[in-house]
């Protein structure tokens, strides 16, 4: 409790003294750094999220560019996952969760009545913190998405999709002889790559990753990080991570969240070498978090 109070105090303090862009009201604050980009894939303006009465995100403005990897960092409970889940409307399935504001994917409002969340989620895929393969065979895991969206008209096409996806996820060599084995028999790192393959099998434009390596060992983590770098050629990737090093290694831009607010955003190299907001600096230098 006291640490939280400390953080809050520090926050208030910093807004009073150091932060050049802060304002006085509790709601109004300004994100440090350039949150908009030239040709955004996703564009968020004034996003507020509530769980029941409790507000989890405050007035978030953030653009996500084409084919970039953007890392979301910040202490636990600051709303990174919540923000991520706004981008493919995963928050819809949480009872009592309410999202306000404007989020556009390629200029189209994703919370508009016309857009079916089912279609949206095929375009904005998601990889979760804990690998969550379905209790089915490896093949059926990857084929699940293409099947429900009718992406393949026959078995050969489906085989092709499964193979390409597994190849892109760097798993093909390891599993091609046992596609009919249960996916739950794979190692943690393999399972996570399978989940990535499953996600890209649907042909998304954006891939959201919520701490995809936090349940993995360093070697599996390195494999996934390399994979993310390769995937950047085709997909826009938003990754939540707890590891500063990981953010520095894989991302081009970094956004720092704190207590539901987007404090600072900018090029990864700039954020890590020259953070402008004292909160960002504290977090990056490891003074808390």
């Amino acid at each position: 409790m006291s640490t939280i109070m400390n953080i809050v105090e520090k926050f208030e303090e910093s807004r009073d003294s150091a932060a050049p862009t802060s304002t006085d009201s509790d709601q109004g604050y300004q994100t440090v750094g350039e949150y908009s980009v030239a040709k955004p894939r996703i564009c968020c303006r004034g996003v507020n999220v509530f769980y029941g009465e409790k507000q989890a995100l405050f007035d978030i403005n953030l653009d996500i560019g084409q084919r970039e990897v953007i890392a979301l960092i910040g202490p636990s409970g600051c709303g990174k996952s919540t923000f991520l889940r706004c981008l493919n409307r995963m928050n819809d399935i949480i009872e009592g969760c309410r999202v306000e504001g404007d989020i556009r994917l390629d200029g189209q409002d994703i919370y508009s009545k016309e857009l079916d969340p089912v279609v949206l989620r095929a375009r904005v895929g998601m990889v979760f913190q804990k690998p969550n393969p379905f209790p089915k065979s490896i093949y059926d895991n990857v084929a699940y998405g293409p099947r429900i969206h009718g992406l393949a008209s026959n078995r050969t096409e489906l085989d092709d999709i499964v193979e390409t996806s597994l190849k892109r996820a760097g798993l093909w060599k390891e599993v091609r002889d046992r596609l009919d084995h249960p996916a739950t028999g794979l190692s943690g790192g393999q399972q996570q790559r399978l989940c990535i393959a499953r996600t890209i099998a649907v042909g998304p434009e954006v891939v959201l990753m919520d701490e995809p390596c936090s349940a993995l060992d360093p070697i599996a983590t390195a494999t996934i990080e390399q994979l993310i770098d390769e995937l950047r050629e085709r997909y826009t990737i938003v990754i939540v991570t707890h590891s500063m090093q990981q953010a520095a290694r894989v991302s081009q831009r970094t956004a720092y969240f704190h207590l539901g607010k987007l404090i600072e955003v900018g090029d990864t190299s700039r954020i890590f070498t020259n953070p402008r907001h004292p909160l960002t600096e504290d977090y990056i230098t490891g003074r808390f978090g």
Binding site: N88, E95, R121, M126, F128, T184
Partner: protein
Amino acid sequence: MQPDTLIWTLSALCAIAFYLGRHRAVQASGGHIRNLHSLPAYYGYYLALCCGLPALLVLCLWLLFDDKLILQLILGQLPEFWRNLPEDRLSLVVNQIHNLIAGEAGIQEVDPAIRAAADHYQRLKTTGYRILAILTLTVATAGLVYGYRRIAPDMRARNTVEKSLRYALILSSTLAIFVTIGIVLSVLFESLRFFSKVPVTEFLFGLKWSPQMAIRPDQVGASGAFGFIPLLTGTLLISGIAMAVATPIGLLSAIYLSEYAKSHTRSIVKPLIEVLAGIPTVVYGFFAALVVAPLLRDFGVQLGLTVSAESALAAGTVMGVMIIPFVSSLTDDALTAVPRSLREGAYGLGATQAETITGVVLPAALPGIVSGLLLAVSRAIGETMIVVMAAGMTAKLTLNPLESVTTITVQIVALLVGDQEFDSPKTLAAFALGLTLFLITLALNLVALHVVRRYREQYE
């Protein structure tokens, strides 16, 4: 001192021992509790155990055997004539003595020798209690002193207490197992007696069940047939109907509750469904007999079918309603055990809610659901009341749900109701039926258990 007073005294002594032990430990630590190996309370428990356990053992042994011992003593003192009676007459005498003591035989004429024996018995009993009290309290005090002197700062009181706790736990679990084994064995032996009178093959493969035996050799007709196939088909028929009713309704309501219902709706509907489980089966029974059966018959008449007044359909339907909450809550458990992450995985790929449920949640929960259904079946097979009231007593070999059939449980009741000879095949047949029933439900439960085991492995 009567045994109950003695037990109270012993408890009080244990309580005192607890405080003494704790106090002693604190004292021995010299005011620094950290010098003690265990927390002071453990020394208290330790002393209470030292004091109470051996004494309790003595008490139990005494109460188990004192009656037999005293009886031996007084029978030995009876006059020659009584002592040489055959076994069964002797037990009558013992009975008479017991009655006299309980004050129930006053009206009858009683032999003075027996009255004297009864008086003697009572005297012995009183002396016995006195000895017992002295013995127990001595043992308790001895234990107390022994334990008290052993308490020292480095004594491992906690380990001793925890070990005794573990033995107590082991004891209770083995007790439960032994009771089960005892029941099974007694049923088994009675069944063996039955099978020595009626061949196993006749019982297992006979197609006719009519357990009426001739009491006198010249009686007509009643020869007794013990083929249990008609009972088995009756049981399976009714359970089948019940499952046909309960499975879809239970499953669908569980899916609705766990996947679709808002938590508010759920908190209202779930208890309402579970109320069904609280209705006594007798109530279901007369509901089946007085409401459902006539309804079915009227309905049948309109369709031009003959539905008997007591039909398998009526009993099965109502039994199905009875096990709906069972199926529904077990399915609900299985569905909610499917991790949230799996659902999110499916939603994240753009699956609709129905696709998520049919494609991911149900397959993942299937083993749990299947084992729940198997448990429900064994419940249905064991159900008696509804069938007695609504499906009749006549054993008919038929698969027509509109006729009256009977089940294994109903026949057990029928065989044992009223005055019975204990060694006639008719009575013993009940045990054989009980054994078969037990084996069937055991097999079902084992299969269910096996399925659940496999199910657990999937998420580890």
